[in-house]
Amino acid sequence: MTITRILIANRGEIAVRLIRACHELGIEAVAVYSDADANALHTRLADEAIHIGPSTPGESYLRGEKHIAAARGTGCQAIHPGFGFLSEAPDFARAVRDAGLIFIGPSAEAIQAMGIKTEARALMQAAGVPVVPGFQAADAADEDFLHAAREIGYPVMVKAAGGGGGKGIRIVYDADSLLDALAGARREAQSAFGDSEIFLEKYIENGRHIEIQVLADQYGNTVHLYERECSIQRRHQKIIEETPSTIVTPDLRDRMGQAAVDAARAVDYVNAGTVEFIVAPDRTFYFLEMNTRLQVEHPITELVTGIDLAILQIRIAAGERLPFAQADLAQQGHAIECRVYAEDPANHFLPATGPVLRTVEPAGPGIRVDAGVVTGDQVTIHYDPMIAKVIAFGATRADAIRKMDWALAQYVILGLTTNLQFLRDVLKHPTFTSGNIDTQFIDRHFADWAEPCPDDLPVEALIAAAIAEFQSLGSLTSGGDGTPKGDAYSPWSRADSFRIGGR
């Protein structure tokens, strides 16, 4: 089937990325939007935009039937699910297929096989991929867990079988705490995933979260595109990712890459996916889970390999063969990604919302910004706090860090609080620059982070505010409610119309 139109079943930064990929290929992109996203960047960039419901994800972006109806109604041959939302929902992949559309991703069966974490572990063991020592058994009694934990050796992690993305994980350091942890985990798992089944894994202390990008076409060609180091996390949410990893040697890279390819083949994987591993300080590695979709941090892989993953996803879905074999691939330079979150690190990292009154993105050699918001957008409470990604690419790790610091210092986002300052502080930390990081890095060093900018208001800031105020009053046409509407200031109270269908 020739693909001429793709429906992007997502929003924000990834929808923008995918729309651009479509346009590069001369393919038209159809966006979907909820009430809150009527004027969002992705809505405006698409060739056509379909309104799919109220702002709550459950009534819009999580409604598979609405995506499918929008795709059919606008003549799309394919749907790209992005990441999050329905990208790893096997029922959605199945429904897309049953509707006669192409799902840009793996099969529903592959998604399902890797979706239940306990099943994925079992599959991996059968495929010879090393898994974290653990224990799982349907309807296991607490005594069984206690016995298993003793065998595995504390500390252990109690995890939800039906979960993922860091939810429902508890670390248990001794037998006394295990029973409570089991009960609590079952409760959380039931409420978050509707499935109370839990399992145990050995907790690898000072481990690193390192994942391998895989790519496979519909003809059985499967390759890996090296690793991504994702240990800089807070509450299991990634903040900074980089490649190559400072701990991965060429030999380890080959072995992990092969393990990832084996994992993908075990489920007849097609398209882009990521196999996550935990790497212990002694460089032994274990399978954690597989993400059957394009990942947030895919840009760093793109920069060191020179390969556009989003475009390849579309090509693979259209039936093309992979244009390269493993031997053709090479990794060059160093890439780092920082996730810009709409949150206030000085307020316990709680969400921050607001109008995006002005953004000025950094631009320069080796700087890439994948943003979901530009001037005029609105960040609301309804969606993920990630609003942009800044990626820096340099010849060496030190170069990349320097460029990233420059880029973050130049990025202006006015109208809401973000973690830009926090990111800069993390990059400056000597442990980060040494590369000796692990998943506990943020908790260990940044638990009580405070804003480095002066608490006192510098007179320059006060003067700038006053001058802008002064200018806005000067070129004044007063709004009905008396608010000045000048050049420098424009209060956020626009009532823009939104497009319905067509341009």
Partner: protein, 176 residues
């Protein structure tokens, strides 16, 4: 022209005066500053303040629920710093800061009220759940900071609130 802004619970006053030569003079806390506006395209301010180049961005908004007049300023340099100011006018309502009474419950983050566990008039103990606030898939429990009577409940399920918005007020008091 005189303006007043609040920043981190401190009020700042500034007076601007046009000079005959086209420059500006600012008076802040007894100090005088000479200012030239080199250019000001699209929310950008390229200034000369006392002979030093200052590059800034400024933007304004009025918040939807509390109607606060907020001003955002970014000073762009080697270290970009962001400031959120609240314009102080005679009639404007100010964001509840540290001056709020001890029994006042304000929203620690923006969010939507998912559940309200109390009614006006009931007795609450310190730590009792008052309501659940949710934003960006994160849920926080708003609990009573002290024991007393729930005098006023300002929100109901489904309401969207801003950070700092008054959610409820508890009149401190002993339990009978």
């Amino acid at each position: 022209m005189e303006f007043r802004y609040r920043h981190h619970d401190a009020d700042h006053a500034i007076r601007l005066e046009h000079q005959p030569d086209g420059s500006l003079r600012a008076y802040v806390a007894g100090q005088e500053h000479s200012i030239q506006v080199l250019s000001s395209p699209e929310g950008q301010l390229n200034l000369l303040i006392d002979g030093q180049r200052v590059h800034a961005y400024a933007a304004a908004t009025r918040t939807p629920q509390m109607h606060l007049d907020l001003r955002y300023v970014a000073l762009v340099d080697r270290e970009t710093c962001f400031f959120e100011l609240e314009k102080v006018t005679g009639s404007g309502r100010q964001r509840s800061g540290k001056q709020a009474a001890s029994g006042a419950l304000t929203a620690q983050m923006p969010g939507q009220v998912m559940e309200v566990a109390v009614e006006e008039g009931i007795t609450v103990n310190e730590g009792d759940l008052i309501l659940l606030l949710e934003a960006m898939k994160m849920e926080i429990r708003v609990t009573a900071p002290l024991s007393g009577t729930l005098e006023r409940l300002n929100v109901s399920v489904g309401d969207q609130v801003e950070r700092g918005q008054m959610l409820a007020e508890i009149k401190p008091g002993g339990i009978d």
